[in-house]
Point group: C4
Chain length 210, copies 4
């Protein structure tokens, strides 16, 4: 993403740039990860990366459009089954973009953590999350158990998001991170901040910090 | 590999792109690694990187062609001695492409593991392996003892592949990973997935997980 | 920064190149980090990255100018609140450029260190710091407690810099590194040297070295 | 180094490509590292990177030429004080190129190792070292104590190289790696192989392997 803030580019072009940036950071290998942005709110339409697409060679033809039930309404290709989670986040949070990264550190940490959440506090980087004013903020990121029944998982997610109105993200166990923002640049910023912080947590544990 | 799925490029051009991508990921330093794709099935012909080629500057002139006995039939340069292993995989699995990466983590883990295999289970990333439908899948990757007698090693490999029809890959101890796919994009996807997962296993062990 | 030494480029262009280089190294994710260079000494004018700017897509329009009180005097955008720290460093050290990076390792180490400083000695890389003639040099990098009241933090910093005239840098706890130089290339060199050395310290601790 | 084997490029151009590649790999930050290649054998002339040059922006104007006593004979800029070590290696080994990298892992390992050498054996990657035929090879890399008196250090080095005719490299403690080859591509290959293997050794130790 040379310039994710460029207001002149199409939503598809901006999704491609965002996806390629996250892939370059190593967070979307082997066709993992999926990325979406809201095209219209009423009726709800999301541009989203198609299932099984290689993110290193992502192009606009790999972006499809889904409706409020995560059904394909435009483009060639199958929307990812995880489109249900993207739609659930957009509905619950009014997000303009949703990004799912799949990094080594979030995979390692959700495997190594027994609890249903990972809390991060005291780091300056937290101030980059929307609405956070101080490094003393504690961000508690819920961990959902991974599952293949996406509509059911989306239902669980709706419950979690309703109970945690302040959460900026959630994790799927041994799977990865979902975060979002009011627009794509904010969502990219949140992804970079949270992936950075989970790497900090992981490396701190390797130094014997809990 | 800007677009490993591009059906218009020649097999050599696509092998070059695949090799350069894997090199950029740090999995093919110091002329290590070798990469092949099937040119014809009958008679069997494999395009394969020549021995001793620098992968960061890989070009089509570095691709040679071998027959079903791993003998050079086209191009300048010596086929890698490991061409015997590529041929054995193609025959056993009907693969369209075979990739051998040589990463730090597979080297570390095959040294640190006494057993004859490394099992990986419970990770979403496993679903990217062909035919795998759920993260609950257990992938058992056999470790072969390294050797310099390639025809003999190829014989051992044939035995292992026959006994493990579901395996998507194998490791050579203190040496690296071999994986394959029905075509080059699938083989690249498998390489990225498995290298990702071995990094997860390695970093998890550094956190004290077994 | 293809050539940070290029005397023909404008200060803004050189700041952009420096910022993009540090971002590529992974030390300025999620709009973190800020970078400045002196435009004039009397009256004091600093070119500095605006607040909240994505460093991967940094361009000259993202550079603003501030005065000796860190107030905006030119450009669109808000100067970072941390401009107060940049000004304090310029006044205390006569620096020509100040760079604030925000890396995983400085975040991890300032969290894991109880003391008010991290001392580094015996490494050849230290010789790249201005005025250091031997690897036997000991560089003691003070750690300031992080805070959101920037004028107050700038005051604390002035005290620390006055007490430690030989220091080439300081750390903010769970936040990152500040370093500087007589010009931008020297500041970039110092940032690379210190980030390298903190990674060395961090990885040494993960091997059980204190 | 897009193609270090390209016989058509000048020695300076090839040194620039080699240096930029090693910098991209993270082994030459903050102006550290220096790289040389033999221009003529009689009289002995080495092209070598000038002292204090930023390797990310390395260009042909940064390459100078020295004689058999490491004195400047051509170009603008001061040859690195370490040119004495390059000359000593060329004389002792008949090398065509000498590369000095300065990586995190060689710095960490030479600090963490009490002994005067690090031995590496059993890895396939060793076969990429000139003359090595099997992974069962043991490469013993001597560690010299770092010093600022370069002619004296060069004298110590001559003694070590005479005693260890099979060594492909040496380390300076808390400083970095020197390796060489009959030509620049071989030297680059050796640098990549040895940096890879030291990373393997370092990460293995972080898993509790000695």
């Amino acid at each position: 993403m040379e310039n994710p803030l460029d207001p002149g580019a199409s939503i598809s072009a901006r999704l491609v740039e965002a996806g390629r940036r996250l892939e370059r950071r190593g967070w979307s290998l082997g066709t993992s990860g999926n990325f979406s942005a809201v095209v219209s709110e009423d009726p709800l339409r999301l541009a989203i990366t198609a299932s099984g697409v290689d993110k290193a060679s992502l192009s606009e033809k790999d972006i499809v459009e889904v409706d409020e039930n995560a059904r394909l309404v435009r483009g060639d290709g199958r929307p990812s089954a995880e489109a249900h989670l993207h739609v659930a986040v957009v509905k619950a949070r009014g997000a303009g973009a949703v990004l799912h990264t799949h990094s080594v550190w979030t995979t390692v940490l959700t495997d190594a953590t027994e609890a249903g959440e990972i809390s991060i506090r005291g780091y300056e980087m937290l101030k980059g999350l929307a609405g956070v004013q101080t490094h003393e903020h504690e961000e508690s990121v819920p961990i959902l158990e991974n599952a293949q029944d996406m509509p059911k998982l989306a239902g669980n997610l709706e419950g979690i998001l309703a109970k945690r109105p302040g959460a900026h993200a959630f994790l799927l166990r041994r799977h990865g991170l979902y975060t979002w923002g009011r627009d794509l640049p904010e969502a990219v910023r949140h992804a970079e901040i949270l992936e950075f912080l989970f790497e900090v947590v992981g490396r701190s544990r390797s130094l014997g910090r809990d």
